[in-house]
Amino acid sequence: MPDSALELAEDCYHCGLPIPQHLNLTVNISGEAQAMCCPGCQAVALSIVDGGLENFYRFRSEHAQRPNETSKHQWHVYDLEEVQADFVARLASGEREAQLLIQGITCAACVWLLEKQLANMPGVTAVTVNASTHRCLIRWSNDTQNLSHIMSECQRIGYEPSPATDEKAFQARKKENRQSLMRLGVAGIGMMQVGMVAIALYAGGLQGISEGMQNLLRYLSLVIATPVVFYSAKPFFQAARRSLAHAQLRHLNMDVPVSFAILGAYFASVYSTLTNSGEVYFDSVSMFTFFLLVGRYLEMRVRHSNSLAMGSLSQLLPFTANRLAEPESDPVAVPLKSLLVGDRVLVRAGEIFPSDGCVLRGSSSVEEALLTGEAKPLRKKVDDLVIAGTLNTESVLEVRVTALGQNTTLSAIDKLVSRAELEKPLQQTLADKIAAYFVAAVLILSLLVGSFWYFYEPEQAFWIVLSILVVTCPCALSLATPVALAAATSAARRQGLLITRAHVLESMASITRIVFDKTGTLTLGQLRVKHCIPTQKQFDERQCMALAAALEKNANHPIASAFLAETAGFFSASDIRQYTAEGVEGQIGKQCYRLGSIEFVSNIFPRTIQSNFNTSVPERNLQWILLGSEDGPVAWFGLSDSVRSGIKPLLSYCAAESINSELLSGDASSAVAVLAEDLGIQDFQAGAKPADKLARIHGLQALGEKVLMVGDGINDAPVLAGADVSIAMGAATDLAQTRADAVLLNNNLQAIARVRGIALKTRIIIRQNVTWALCYNALALPLAALGMVPPWAAAIGMSASSLVVTLNALRLNR
């Protein structure tokens, strides 16, 4: 395992992210002290070492994911019967079995770690973790162990478990996968056996063979080929029938000529066998079926991995809600399932609404980008309606539940998303477009050739038409695209980009502009306070920091984390309200304080101070925010963040490829201009609220530009959905990741350049493949028409052309 490639002096040994200066956290792993970037990584590493599983660091091939510091889970709700009903089964042996989804698995060693750690817990009888689907099946005895402890143990070693509630969709996929494999297996075995017999028949054709023996071998081929045709090839016939049922020539797909060829060749060969005349084509038929099924299987795998990464919308709902028994009581965390219409729930800032509802108390801004794609937060006050799955951004709301589960607006969207999942990539439909002309051409030609031979040498007519059908079977054409796309998707995955929507490769090849978010995308999103400059003698540096920490206590913004490490708890603030992209406000003691952008904070200053206020920042290269009260300014904070290393190579690639680059940031400070200048990005916009970002993208698209958006935060989610191609950083919020077309798992921006290279190559290779397939058919057709193609030649020609197409596509794997 290339551990040496992962180790750099300033990077965290556990997750690979850079270590902030002056931070000295180490863990003793296998005898050596290794540096950690945060208390989270340190805690996880310690748990791994304490469990005696240090070998994890030897086995792994990828860095681990950084544990989410702000996630405080209340695992005990998962012990409740109503919650377990969804994903836990009671077995006959008295044990319970749960299906969990595990976040944070980056390589096979994670599976090893999880399985070993969990299996070692008392009461756990079986653990299986699947690295491709990220599902964990765990069996335990409920008398000795409970699920909440198992889940918290997962979290301790750095993985986030959640119930797998997409069971139906998962089972459907599993069934499809297994059935396809079975069909593939039968076709493969059949193909080999029939091929074996066919060689004997070919030899017989060349050297002479007794009629009895020939008959026997033909019947043998018939017997073996029959299940291949009627079981393995069944999906083609069903698809062809559906396509013909719609009866318009325009909508024919490749399954129609394929079905003609397979059935035609099969029945003609049966006729040959029974009447002991002519040629048999069982070997070709079996080979077609096998190759075509391989193409379909690859397509299916890509489609399935799309679904996996996308997850289902219903998993965007929280599992628990804060129910209020009476208006003044404390909120109790209860499972979402136990909510009833009419309950009162409390939804804090940064939380997602668990149900559709009506506001009873409070006023806040809600982001409904999830549903409308509109980034502009809507103001909600008493009596306004809120929607399940949307985000409460600003301050706490008390809501009465009006609709739950299947009745929410969210589940209607879910159905739309499932439908969208079935859409085919555009490149594939290119082959389907050709299909219609193809069918027409083949039929016309067969008629022409058939009639010609009928007059010239009637006995030959039937067999020649048959050989035309066999030779022109669009085997290579059907394989051309799926194999290339599958190879390209896995090559992209190896570069660290997980492609979750089908159109990505094609769109990436034609982008004209790449737009970046700043905090968290171009930078690491780890802001630290570099300078603190109090403006009054009343508070010293530590107190200013404490004031800011009190205001930022519950916030999720990267700026907040810069203060969290500091003296939290010294002061406490009440009535905290967040203003998106502007700042935060709260009451500390008797004063109202604001922390944020200069304009926002100075709005509460007395007018005399406001007009005299010197708004120039002390030092250019930092992001400055202001802390002020109703008396005036209190302190300046200078924050600095570090830039990701992969950005410069990516930008030079873009420049070389004539792709414009742009920076759109919600940060209103001069740090945006400084960063843009530093990196050489010409177009940039600071202080862009989510609505502004989306407007900019739409504006660019109206000018005909194809935009690739790279982002990470919640306020990027609508833009990620709106751009032509969107990439979410691996460290992004779940919402951003589900809205994006691809996820950059290793957060390495350079991978984007490499994947674009792959996309360009893919386009070329698909064109090559389609061209080759058409040329092959064009060449072989006249030969078949002249009667010069015996069955063995047809078989060899078809398999050779399919092989060429596949090998060509595999070049993408390099």
Binding site: N55, V111, P122, V129, N146, M182, V186, M213, L220, V332
Partner: protein, 62 residues
């Protein structure tokens, strides 16, 4: 060549067995995760993990 009259039925029997075997392998989930299993043989299972302490009763229900 007459031996073929015996061997061919034998082949057919083998084919049926092969397909049943394949069916069993697929149904028991052996093809579900192709990625992890390939790497599993590289892991050294000699390390014995230390036991985790018994769960303590959690009193954080509010």
């Amino acid at each position: 060549m007459d031996s073929l009259y015996l061997l061919i039925p034998v082949v057919l029997v083998f084919l049926v067995l092969a397909i049943r075997f394949l069916s069993w392998a697929i149904k028991s989930g052996q093809y579900d995760d192709l990625d992890t299993e390939g790497q599993r043989i590289l892991f050294d299972d000699d390390a014995t993990p230390k036991p985790i302490p018994k769960p303590q009763v959690e009193n954080d229900k509010t």
